[in-house]
């Protein structure tokens, strides 16, 4: 199954020994199981993911180059989404079935169905291409992570990076706050009907204090779970978006690796994703045990 990677590296009419030599160099002449697999697993423990078929550089170097970009983009978007979702969702829950709530609900449904890449396309044409083509104003960059030919001043570089970050982040927030808002609104509505809220109200506590002290505390575990469950999606979920924005991150790297049959790179990215899933769920378990007194460490 699949495609012989040496096909991309040597000429089609190159002598067959060269092909055999190349296969040997990449270790592809051995049987996949157990030889190749055992070597792969053993190498994982040493942090070696093999060499990219395309560039012949170590895959781990290529991943480490791109990892900060993905972490910055997806991390900030997850944080922003959940912060907005929590605030708006709790607010909508307190104003249930009032005008504000009935405005928030369709907005969150709209944001829930809007894919990030589609929002990205809309933003790109409205905020990047339109000003650039009609008025010649470079309001936002069309693609990429950094501008070429920047002076080595770190402040300018940071500002330039932020300038490139704006559009993808905006797209992910507009297209992402809806699901968390809807989720937290529903959780908060069930919480607000609990007896302890009634008790707190009967004690005469102000609504804001009830929300901040009581409801927020019991909403926290599901929030942590939701955040933890959204972390594993950062690589695979961002493939299309990073491709649209040419964001120099792991999603684009995964896409390029997939479309060029670059197996070591694909394996490495999927492995990173699995590790990320495990770590985030583990951290979430600990955090929930810390937040929820009913759950105890054993």
């Amino acid at each position: 199954m699949g495609v012989d990677p040496t096909r991309f590296l040597v000429d089609l009419d190159a002598p067959p020994d060269q092909k055999i030599f190349l296969r040997k160099q990449f270790g592809l002449d051995e049987p996949i199981f157990p030889h190749q697999y055992v070597r792969y697993v053993l190498n994982l423990f040493r942090g070696e993911f093999g060499f990219s078929f395309l560039t012949r550089r170590p895959v781990i170097d290529e991943i480490m180059e791109r990892l900060p970009n993905t972490v910055i983009l997806s991390g900030s978007s997850i944080l922003l989404n959940f912060a907005i979702g929590l605030l708006v969702g709790l607010y909508a829950a307190t104003k249930r079935e009032e005008r504000v709530d009935s405005a928030i609900l369709p907005a969150s449904i709209f944001s829930y169905i809007m894919p990030i890449w589609l929002m990205g396309l809309i933003l790109l044409i409205c905020l990047a291409w339109l000003p650039a083509v009609t008025w010649g104003v470079k309001l936002f960059p069309i693609s990429g992570t950094t501008s070429p030919l920047l002076p080595p001043d770190p402040l300018i570089r940071a500002l330039d990076y932020l300038w490139h970050l704006v559009l993808p982040l905006m797209a992910s927030v507009i297209a992402g706050f809806g699901s968390s808002t809807y989720y937290f609104r529903n959780i908060a509505i069930t919480e607000l009907e609990q007896d302890y809220v009634l008790t707190a109200r009967a004690k005469g506590l102000p609504e804001k204090r009830i929300m901040r002290r009581h409801v927020l505390k019991s909403v926290a575990p599901p929030v942590v779970t939701a955040v933890a469950l959204s972390v594993p999606g950062v690589i695979s979920g961002w493939i299309i978006t990073e491709t649209v924005f040419s964001w120099y991150g792991l999603g684009l790297y995964a896409f390029q690796a997939l479309t060029s049959y670059n197996y070591p790179a694909i394996q490495a990215v999927l492995f990173m994703q699995a590790v990320l899933t495990a770590i985030s769920l583990y951290i979430a378990d600990i955090a929930i045990a810390y937040l929820d007194p009913r759950v105890r460490f054993r």
Binding site: M1, G2, V3, E97, I109, F110, Y112, I113, M114, P115, W117, L118, L121, I122, L124, I125, W129, L130, V133, T134, P232, G233, I235, S236, G237, I239, I240, T243, V244, A254, F255, L258, T259, Y261, I266, V269, L270, Q273, T277
Partner: protein, 497 residues
């Protein structure tokens, strides 16, 4: 009994009757909006061949590249954008004039399908030039076009004469200032019977031809020839000149025949159709109409498969329990955590980009949530007295699972079926957007992909980018609002108290 019993049972248990459920649904605006949009989409998908005017894949160059929608011409300032303009000069419509020394040797015959000019030579021994000029005048009433194409199907046959040579010239005269542009000239050299072997029976004149620019003395990078020639709204005259030079050889007896089929002169419009054209002049409206089929097929098919798999896994796992349950739930949990998109792209890279592959993989990765929910429902349902009663009456495991318990979960199935449609539609669109669509189906994502890759964004072709985005969002929004309303009505936990 049978499946209808289950449906009635469950609805009755939640205080819902079929008519009352329907009435509750009809009261909601979101439901009505969703139904209207969905029905519109389905009818567009069904009647796509009737609604679309062009084939979405194979029809290209129906108008100029990046032509705007035609309705834009009703706005001021856009009124004289060139529309598709075709002058078909029938072989009988030419105005003819023959002059020269050997004019008497020329016979014209337009009784057949083509205008046949025959120059019959029999024993004349003097040199001479003859010229046949065909003219046709037409009016052009739009702004300067971007390109023009002329097809001149002309065939020359020379039998037994060696001393006769010919040349053609095609020129356009603008009547406002009398300027003449020679757009085709076969001279030099004079063509003789030797040339016929090389063949020139169809002359194509395209305004983007660099040779044409050289002939007119302009560089294509600096001037647009079509704009230069058709710069004003006036009448234009096409002259087709066929010159025949006779060397006057003695004993050269035979004839030369020039057959001219209808000449077509075409100016591709910069405004065309309902939604204009894309980078290769294909009709976007037709692509959009056919794209409805792809989106609906992908959404409904993959949601159906997902629900089917979900029912089987969820009900069996919940009902059987034990090792079966653990195995199924392990598979479910593994698939939930699997990154979907890389796997889909990998499978498409390795196997095929057929739409059915997309549908099946999308279905394979979207049944897990439903299976888990169903398992939870079945766990509680199987302890109910009526299940016990059926079992006591001798109902087998399969009968109980799929005839008694499964119908009880119809409300859950209904709204999870509807709610898993938009995800599939949008994922397919996203895959098509990055180039992983079925190349034989014009999906909405593919339109966006073409706009993305072929300069639709850089040229701000809103008529190209906005329709697929709007169609996708409208369809997804309608299906989601249907699903949400169903969920609210059918799920007792969410109903407003």
């Amino acid at each position: 009994m049978r499946s209808s019993l289950g449906g009635r049972l469950i609805l009755a248990r939640y205080g819902l009757h079929r008519s009352r459920t329907l009435r509750m649904l009809l009261k909601r605006k979101m439901w009505i909006f969703g139904i209207i949009v969905l029905v519109a989409n389905i009818s567009v998908a069904v009647f796509a061949p009737v609604i679309a005017t062009r084939d979405p894949i194979y029809d290209i160059h129906v108008a100029d590249d990046l032509a705007m929608p035609e309705w834009i011409t009703i706005f001021p300032g856009f009124g004289d954008i060139p529309r598709n303009f075709l002058v078909l000069i029938n072989h009988r419509d030419w105005k003819r004039s023959i002059h020269g020394t050997h004019a008497s040797l020329i016979r014209l015959d337009d009784t057949g399908d083509e205008l046949v000019t025959s120059y019959q030579r029999s024993g004349v021994e003097e040199k001479g030039d003859t010229e046949l000029t065909l003219t046709h005048t037409f009016d052009y009433g739009y702004a300067p076009p971007r390109t023009f194409v002329a097809y001149l199907p002309i065939a020359v046959t020379i039998t037994k004469v060696t001393g006769v040579s010919y040349k053609f010239a095609l020129s356009v005269t603008r009547s406002s200032d009398g300027k003449t542009f020679v757009v085709y000239d076969s001279y030099p050299p004079w063509r003789t019977s030797d040339f016929i072997r090389l063949g020139d029976n169809r002359i194509t004149i395209h305004s983007r031809d660099p040779m044409l620019g050289r002939k007119l003395g302009v560089t294509l990078l600096e001037r647009n020839i079509a704009e230069m020639i058709f710069s004003s709204k006036t009448s234009y005259t096409i002259h087709l000149t066929i010159s025949i030079a006779d060397e006057g050889l003695a004993g050269d007896t035979g004839e030369m025949k020039v057959a001219l089929s209808p000449l077509s002169f075409r100016i591709p419009g910069k405004a065309y159709g309902i939604l204009g054209t894309n980078h290769e002049g294909a009709d976007i409206f037709s692509q959009l109409v056919y794209g409805t089929r792809v989106s609906l097929t992908v959404g409904i098919l993959s949601a159906s498969i997902a629900v089917l798999v979900g029912i089987i896994v969820g009900v069996i796992a919940g009902y059987q329990g034990g090792i079966v349950d653990q195995t199924f739930m392990f598979i479910t949990d593994t698939l939930i955590q699997t990154p979907t998109l890389p796997i889909i792209i990998l499978v498409m890279m390795l196997f095929s980009r057929s739409i059915y592959v997309i549908v099946s993989i999308l279905a394979l990765f979207s049944w897990m949530g439903l299976a888990r929910q169903l398992r939870a429902w079945v766990l509680s349902l199987k302890e109910r007295p009526f299940v016990e009663a059926v079992r006591a009456a001798g109902g087998g495991d399969l009968y109980v699972m799929f005839r008694v318990i499964a119908p009880q979960t119809i409300p859950l199935l209904t709204y999870s079926f509807v709610l898993s449609i938009p995800g599939a539609i949008l994922t397919e669109a996203g895959l098509s957007m990055i180039g992983f669509g079925d190349p034989l189906f014009p999906s909405w994502g593919k339109i966006l992909n073409e706009a993305w890759n072929s300069g639709g964004f850089a040229s701000l072709a809103w008529w190209w980018i906005a329709p697929p985005i709007a169609a996708l969002l409208l369809l997804a929004l309608s299906v989601v609002s249907l699903g949400r309303t169903l969920e609210e009505v059918l799920n007792p936990r969410l109903r407003k108290r």
